[in-house]
């Protein structure tokens, strides 16, 4: 009985100190927004007003903000899944982009097969992205190549190749955009908060969070995966296959990224525009880091990042700053988010990283 109470207390303390760390980072982010507005804008108050409150001025802005959190939720889950197995998937950018591209092309090819075709296209997109991430897992399993670096490099190559494909062989000749052809209207996900872009993809995101949570904490594989991440030597000693938990989590992680890309096409963009997903992969990593790789915490973290992004967009539309200020703020978050000193008092140290 005593032990249980103590454990509960310790849990509360950890949760508290974790949230203090998160609060510090949120404060740093807000401070950098204020600083940027003061330095760059001729009317800082107006800029700040649109940055902080612009997302709540109407259902349209609110819906779009929630909508831009969806890929971050999928991506954040992907990063967390790999991280729970002690692997770092830095290739999100390329995996999202590739997933989106494959989905948008294949759905055109598969259109005659109706809904089955759309699902097949979705599965193919997931497959391609999971293979791209899987490469890094396989390299790790074969030669212990650092998956952090390889996933990043593979993703950079993929970005350029997809750029070429979108601008070259697969470009839609009927539009001035550098984009592929639009997907047929019957495959577009229904909107749930008109006039905003928010679509039923949100439900998929929430289901994905629950599934990942159940997988990690309620299944045998999830348990083995976490054990491998916490102490791989111990896990191998316990009879767990090394290559399985180096390749599997990377592939799962990639498939979540692919899903992010494909659903962004079905729900929001309807066509692969050149570099449309730029930043999604990075932001998803930051989201996962802020959430400390806990699936349930990913939703608020993703909303926070979407809030910064849509704030920057509103400030750009209504004031005199450029959209790139959001990447500065996000970089600042990135810079401090893995700092263990800022999360001091945290009983858990860098166990997860």
């Amino acid at each position: 009985m005593m032990i249980r109470v103590e454990r509960k207390q310790r849990k509360t303390i950890t949760a508290l100190s974790d949230s203090i760390g998160v609060m510090i980072i949120v404060c740093i982010a807000c401070a950098s927004i204020v600083l940027l507005a003061l330095l760059l804008s001729n009317d800082p108050l107006k800029t700040l007003k649109y940055f902080f409150f612009g997302s709540f001025q109407s259902m349209y802005y609110l819906g779009n903000m929630i909508n831009s959190a969806i890929p971050l939720i999928f991506g954040g889950l992907g990063v967390s899944l790999a991280m729970k197995a002690g692997l770092f998937n830095l290739g999100g950018e390329g995996q999202v982009y590739a997933g989106a591209f494959v989905a948008s092309i294949l759905v055109l090819v598969m259109a005659p097969f109706g809904i089955v075709g759309a699902i097949l296209a979705l599965l193919a997109a997931i497959g391609v992205s999971s293979l791209l991430a899987g490469i890094s897992g396989m390299l790790k399993a074969a030669w212990n190549t650092n998956e952090l670096i390889t996933s990043f490099l593979v993703s950079n190559i993929v970005l350029l190749v997809v750029n070429y494909l979108i601008a070259g062989p697969f470009k839609d000749p009927n539009t001035n955009l550098i984009a592929t052809r639009r997907i047929p209207p019957q495959f577009m996900l229904p909107k749930i908060m008109p006039p905003s872009n928010l679509s039923t993809a949100l439900y998929f995101a929430i289901i994905a969070v629950m599934l990942v949570q159940i997988f990690l904490y309620r299944t045998k594989s999830g348990y083995e995966l976490r054990m491998y991440g916490l102490n791989s030597t111990f896990a191998i000693y316990g009879g767990i296959s090394r290559s399985r938990y180096q390749i599997g989590p990377m592939m799962l992680s990639g498939s979540l990224y692919g899903l992010a890309g494909a659903l962004a096409i079905y729900g929001t963009y309807f066509t692969s525009i050149k570099e449309f997903s730029s930043g999604m992969g990075w932001n998803a990593i930051a989201v996962a880091l802020i959430a400390r790789f806990r699936p349930m915490a990913i939703i608020p973290a993703a909303l926070f990042f979407a809030y910064i992004e849509s704030g920057a967009r509103n400030a750009m539309l209504h004031s005199d700053v450029t959209y790139e200020i959001s990447s500065i703020v996000q970089a600042v978050v990135f810079l401090f988010v893995t700092s263990t000193v800022l999360q001091k008092g945290s009983i858990r140290t860098r166990r997860n990283l």
Binding site: L36, L40, F88, L90, L139, W143, N144, T145, N146, L148, I149, T150, L153, V154, N156, I157, L160, V161, N163, Y164, A167, G168, W282, L289, V321, T322, E324, I325, S326, S327, I328, Q330, A331, V332, F334, L335, F336, V337, T338, S339, T340, V341, L342, R350, L353
Partner: protein, 300 residues
């Protein structure tokens, strides 16, 4: 044959210089035990700072100094956060790269009202060194002469780096902090200090490397470094983490790049694929190194 080879060799030397400079600084961080992937960002901010301050001050010297200052400031920020606030150095490096790519766009928009290429008319041409008696030597003369000051400075810096790393207590301690930092701790020294200085050195050389890119062109092109910071990392790995190894590796990349420029002009290769070359090479190099280390550990 000589007609095409001469210009290719000459441009190879110019192309390898930014790589060599960035790799020289990166060697310090690498030997101190930190994977410094911020070379790219450090170069970019140095490139931007150098040309912008040259434009406003009218003096190239002040411009380069200011570029160095910008880059070293960023380097000290990364170092502080990674070493003293104990953040993951890979993530802080990425953050720095992201930060610079955003910051340069925002600043270029604020200062020049333009997010794209900014060309400066008042930037003087970089002076080129010509010594008649060396130029008369065939092939070598062509290779050694007719370059800007950055090229010669990069060679000088390499010699200096070799001396500092292998002949001074500082250099040896720096290497110790990478090999086994507990040794330094047992001597009452702090590895973090050496790593901090290593970051500053990398900021310094990366700024020079970036400054050469923009000042040579007389314009600022967004993302002008285009993956060169990453190649500099490969140069370090390929060069076996030794100063003169860097020279050889940078030479290979310089030649490859000069040739691919030539190839792009002659054959029709999509620009995206050319841009992918640095990453493909890095990937191959990293895989190669990991296979090599795995084999070695198996034998040993």
């Amino acid at each position: 044959m000589m007609q095409t080879l001469g210009p290719i060799l000459n441009s190879a030397v110019v192309i390898m210089t930014p790589l060599l400079l960035a790799a020289t600084g990166g060697l310090f961080t690498e030997l101190s035990g930190m994977l410094n992937i911020a070379l790219e960002g450090l170069m970019l901010i140095g490139a931007f700072g150098a040309i912008v301050f040259t434009h406003y001050s009218g003096s190239m010297f002040i411009g380069i100094l200011a570029g160095i200052l910008c880059s070293m400031l960023l380097a000290s920020l990364i170092a502080t956060v990674s070493l003293y606030l104990k953040a993951n150095v890979f993530i802080t490096g990425l953050a720095a790269n992201l930060l610079v790519s955003g910051l340069t766009v925002v600043l270029s928009f604020k200062l020049f009202g333009n997010k794209g290429v900014v060309s400066f008319v008042n930037i003087p041409q970089l002076p080129l060194l010509h010594l008649r008696w060396i130029e008369k030597i065939p092939v070598i003369g062509n290779l050694l002469m007719g370059h800007n000051g950055f090229v010669y400075f990069s060679w000088l810096l390499l010699l200096l780096c070799n001396f500092v790393l292998y002949r001074t207590p500082f250099g040896l301690r720096l290497q110790a902090s990478g090999l086994h930092d507990q040794v330094l701790v047992s001597l009452g020294l702090r590895p973090a200090h050496y790593r901090f200085i290593a970051f500053l050195v990398s900021g310094f050389t990366c700024a020079l490397s970036g400054a050469q890119l923009t000042l040579n062109l007389g314009a600022y092109v967004p993302n002008i470094t285009a993956g060169k910071g990453w190649i500099a990392l490969v140069v370090i790995f390929l060069g076996q983490k030794r100063p003169f190894g860097l020279l050889v590796a940078a030479c290979i990349f310089g030649l490859a790049d000069a040739f691919s420029n030539f190839a792009q002009g002659s054959w029709d290769i999509p620009a995206d694929f050319i841009l992918a070359i640095p990453y493909i090479l890095t990937l191959v190099a990293i895989i190669g190194v990991s296979i090599y280390t795995k084999r070695k550990s198996r034998i040993g």
